[in-house]
C-alpha cells in the first residue's frame, strides 16, 4: 500500500461509492456506537458509502485504501502506534472521534503518575502486558484531518462530519462553549444561581448542555472549547470554596490530557510524571 493522501487516491469502492473504515484503539466503543445509533441514517449511509471495514459491525472487510477513516480510541501500546500509522497510510481522510482519540481519554490519567498511587502499581504478571506508560491522542502519532470531541461524541455532529468529509468540505462544528448552548435552551445557570461547580464556560459545546438541564454542573466530557479561559474559571471556583485537590480532579477526567485542562489541573497541583509529561511523539494540540 502506498502511503499518504496521494497514495489513497481513487479509493472509491468498485461500485463508485466512497469507502468508509472504522478503527478502534483503546476505548469503550461508545463513539462507534454513536455511529450505529444513527439507525435510519445508517441504512441510508450504507447506501451512500461502502462500509469497507467496521469490525464491530461486520465480518467482511475490504482492503484499503479508504476514502474516510473514523478512528476511535487512544494509543497505549507500541503495536497500536504502528497500526495507526498503517491506518493513516491507507486513508485519504482520517477523522478522530471522541475524547479517547482526540485527547487520550480517561485512561490518560496514567500520564499523571501520582507517586504513591500509580508508580507503585504492580500486576500479577506485568510481563504479559505490553502497554505504554502513557495514553496519547491519535494526533500525537499521525496527521489528523479533523478531530471530533466528546465522551461520547454527539451523533448529529458525527453525521455532519461524515457528510462534510464525503462532500470534500471542512465540517462545521462550532468551537464555542457549553454556556452558549445552555443559555440557548434557557436553563437557569447552576454556577450563578446555586454556586454549583460547572465546567460549561471552558467546555466545548455539542452535547446540548445536558448537565445543567438536570441541575448538575458540566464535568467537561466534551473537552476544552476553542478558547478556554480555565484560569479565570478556576479562580471563581476557588472563590466559591473549591479546594485545589478537588479542582485538579475536576479538570482531570475524560479529557485529562487535553492541554487546556491538563495545564489547569497541574496548576492546581495534579502530579505530573516529568519524564512522561511531554511524550516523545507529542505534537502540538490540533496539529493537522
Amino acid at each position: 500500500m502506498s502511503g499518504g493522501a496521494d497514495g489513497a487516491n481513487g479509493a472509491a469502492g468498485d461500485d463508485g461509492r466512497p469507502t468508509l473504515a472504522v478503527w478502534k484503539f483503546a476505548s469503550c466503543d461508545g463513539c462507534q456506537l454513536s455511529l450505529l445509533d444513527c439507525e435510519e441514517e445508517l441504512l441510508m449511509l450504507a447506501g451512500a458509502v461502502r462500509i469497507a471495514h467496521f469490525t464491530e459491525m461486520s465480518r467482511a472487510s475490504t482492503p484499503g485504501p479508504y476514502d474516510v477513516s473514523l478512528v476511535e480510541g487512544s494509543i497505549t501500546t507500541e503495536a497500536d502506534a504502528e497500526r495507526v500509522r498503517e491506518v493513516r497510510a491507507m486513508s485519504r481522510r482520517l477523522v478522530t472521534i471522541g475524547a479517547c482519540a482526540t485527547a487520550g481519554g480517561i485512561q490518560a490519567l496514567r500520564n499523571f503518575a501520582g507517586e504513591g498511587e500509580y508508580a507503585g502499581m504492580v500486576y500479577a504478571h506485568p510481563e504479559y502486558i505490553a502497554a505504554l506508560e502513557t495514553s496519547t491522542p491519535i494526533s500525537a502519532h499521525v496527521e489528523v484531518d479533523f478531530e471530533l470531541q466528546g465522551c461520547p461524541i454527539d451523533r448529529h455532529q458525527l453525521l455532519e462530519v461524515l457528510t462534510a468529509t464525503l462532500a470534500g468540505r471542512r465540517p462545521v462544528i462550532p468551537g464555542h462553549s457549553v454556556c452558549w448552548q445552555c443559555k440557548g435552551r434557557g436553563t437557569v445557570c447552576v454556577l450563578v444561581a446555586k454556586g454549583t461547580a460547572c465546567l460549561g464556560p471552558v467546555t466545548r459545546s455539542g452535547c446540548g448542555a445536558l448537565c445543567p438541564a438536570v441541575g448538575r454542573g458540566c464535568f467537561g466530557c466534551f473537552g476544552p472549547a476553542e478558547t478556554a479561559n480555565t484560569a479565570s474559571l478556576a479562580a471563581q471556583l476557588r472563590h466559591q470554596g473549591m479546594a485545589p485537590l478537588e479542582l485538579s480532579r475536576f479538570f482531570s477526567t475524560f479529557n485529562a490530557a487535553a492541554p487546556a485542562f491538563r495545564d489547569e489541573a497541574v496548576a492546581e497541583g495534579a502530579p505530573v510524571r516529568v519524564a512522561l509529561g511531554a511524550t516523545r511523539r507529542n505534537r502540538p494540540w490540533g496539529a493537522q
Binding site: K24, S27, Q32, D37, A79, R110, M121, G215, R216, T253
Partner: protein, 438 residues
Amino acid sequence: MGGTVSHGSGSPRTIGVEGLARVEGEGSLRVVIADGTVTDVALDIFEPPRYFEALLVGRHFTEAPDITARICGICPVAYQMSACAAMEDAFGVTVDERVAALRRLLYCGEWIQSHALHVYLLHAPDFLGYDDAVELAEHDRGAIERGLQLKRTGNLIMETVGGRAVHPINVRVGGFYAAPPPSAIANLADPLRRARDAALATVEWVAGFDFPDLVGDYRFVALRDSGRYPIEQGRPASSDGLDVSPGELADLIVEEHVARSTALHARLGGRDPYLTGPLARYALNSAALGRLAGEAATRAGLGEVCSNPFRSIVVRAVELVFACNEALSLVEAYAPPDPPASDVIARPGTGTGATEAPRGLLLQSYEIDGEGIIRHARIVPPTSQNQLTIEADLRRVAQGSLDLSDDELGWRCEQCVRNHDPCISCAAHFLDITVVRA
C-alpha cells in the same frame, strides 16, 4: 499477542480468527486440532488495558458512576448502577422505592438497546449466513427496521431518564440529579407498546432459525430478586445451590491472569468455570418472567432452562419482551421521586454492588476512606466470568463440527463466541492490580 500454539504429534489443523468481528472490542480465537481431536482452544483478548481499577483510586466516590460508565459504551448503565449500589452498600444508604423504580426503567432501556443490537446487528446474521446486518437488510429490510425500532426505543428510555443514550449524565449515588417530568415519561408508553409488539415478533423470528445441537453442562450464576426477574438488584445465586450476598460473592470469585489475555479468568471458589448472562438469568428466574414473556418463551420452545448456547438469541428475544413489558408497567406507574436522590454521607468502609448487565452479572467493590475517597476498587465484568465457559463451548463445538471446512468451522466457532455476546472492551480492563503504598 497470542501465545504459542501447542499441539500433539502429526500436523495439526489450526483454525484462527484474528480480529473477531461483531463483538464489542478486540479479540481473536484459535482452535488447534491434531489427529481428529481438539487439542487447544483459546479466546484471546488483546484489547489494551485501560486500568480502571487503578485510576479510580484517589477519586471521590461520587465520580465512580461516571468514570466506570466509560468502561463500556454498550452497557454504561450497568456500570453506573453497580457503582451506585456498591457505594450505597458502603454507606448504609437505602434508596426510595421510586428511585429504585426509575433505575429499573433506565436499566430496561439499556437491556432493550443492547439486546436489540446483539440480536439484530451482531448475532442474527450468523444464523442467516450474512456477513453483517447491512447484507441482511438487503434481503430482509423489515427485520432490520424492526431491530432498529427496538434499539431506538431503548435509547429513547435512556435519553428520557438518563439524559443521553451513551453514558447517561443523570445518575448519581443515591438516585438521580433530577426526576424526569411525568409528561416525558408518559411519552414513552406508545413507543414501548410498539416495541413490545416488535419484541414478540423478534421471538417468533429467531425461534425459526436453525440451531446446531449442542447442550452445555453449565453452572449458571445470576441474581435472584424475590420473585421478580433480576435487573438492578438481587442476591447472587447459582444452579447448584449458591445463595449469598453480593459481598460474599465478591469474596468467592477468584480471578487469574493468563499470559495470552489482557482479561482475567474468573472461577468461583476456585472451582469450575461458570456462566452468567441471559441463559443463567433465565435458568434461575424463568418463573419470574410474567405471563407475556413466559408464554412467548413457551411458544418458542424454551423449557424452564435453556442450555443450548446457540439458542441464547431466543432467550435474549424473550428478555426483550420482558424488558419492554416491564418498562411499560413502570412508565404507567411512574411517580417522580421527591427528592430525586437520597442524602449520601461518606463514611469509611467497604461496599459491593451487583446488578445484571445485559451480558450478565456485574460486580463492583470499593473501599472508601473518611473523606469519601476511593482507596481500593475491584470490578468484575460478565465477560471475564464467562471466558472459561466460552472456551469450553468452543472446544465442544469444534469437536462436534470437525467435518466442516476450515472456513465453515471458523465461522461456526466465531458464532459460538458471539452466542455469549462477549464484551471485550469490558473484559480487558481488569488486570489484577495491587496498589502498593509506601
